[in-house]
Symmetry: C2
Subunit: 145 residues, 2 copies
């Protein structure tokens, strides 16, 4: 199986497969005579594992730990659970943070007329009730080059 087929079969892009190999998340695959990467079922399972872990929000570093635990038959499930529990806490923290933003913004948006007049509580909040500086907004917007 070439990298394209492994990508198809696992849902991980070829680009990412090469990257995972480069950073040592997966081991270098075998190569065929023409120097193409060659994959088997085992490798596809590993890629699917990574894909699933990523879709649950685990970082590549956490994914690496989980992968190692998966392949360690003498693991203790407590080790796995610890990684998961930590990640859940992290997700909850980020969710709470965003919910705070939503709460504040919803309130402000609710108080904003959203009409043709310039008065806007959203801007007032952002400005901390300071008057806008007279100079116009910057236009060029050339990002770092």
């Amino acid at each position: 199986m070439n990298i394209g087929q492994a990508a198809e079969a696992s849902g991980v892009s070829a680009k990412m497969i090469r990257y995972y190999e480069q950073i040592g998340l997966i081991r270098p695959s075998a190569r065929s005579d023409n120097n193409y990467r060659v994959y088997g079922e085992d490798e596809v399972h590993v890629l699917r594992f990574i894909k699933r872990a990523r879709s649950l929000g685990f970082s590549l570093e956490e994914t690496e730990r989980l992968l190692a635990l998966w392949q360690d038959r003498s693991r203790e499930s407590a080790s796995v659970k610890a990684v998961a529990v930590q990640h859940i806490a992290d997700l909850k923290r980020r969710i709470a943070e965003m919910e705070g933003m939503v709460k504040t913004l919803s309130h402000l948006a609710h108080c904003c007329g959203g009409d043709g007049r310039p008065d806007c509580p959203i801007l007032e909040d952002l400005a901390g009730h300071a008057p806008p500086p007279t100079p116009a907004a910057p236009r060029p917007r050339r990002r770092a080059q």
Copy 2:
């Protein structure tokens, strides 16, 4: 006021102030004889505006739009509200995504013994019930150089 004082007064790091200037989010400050950046109250207000917008999760691009609206006295509050409403929707989408992760993970973690035995529903889920490939986990972990 030098950049360090402006950073102190606004809560935006000196590093970031320079960056914002570089990408055109704020206009280049005046310079003193010794080529130091010089800031006044107006600039600090702008920086605080940016800081507040960032703390509400707005991207720098959205922040730029809000900044322009703030400085446009003939703005329509509808324009501001549109930016906010879009951002709220975005936040809600991301929250929902993460809540899905939390839900799945909480269930799996709850079902996991978290003891000294190797059996682990978390790994089973990640693996899609495939057996772990025999090769040990990769160790080197040398990131892209």
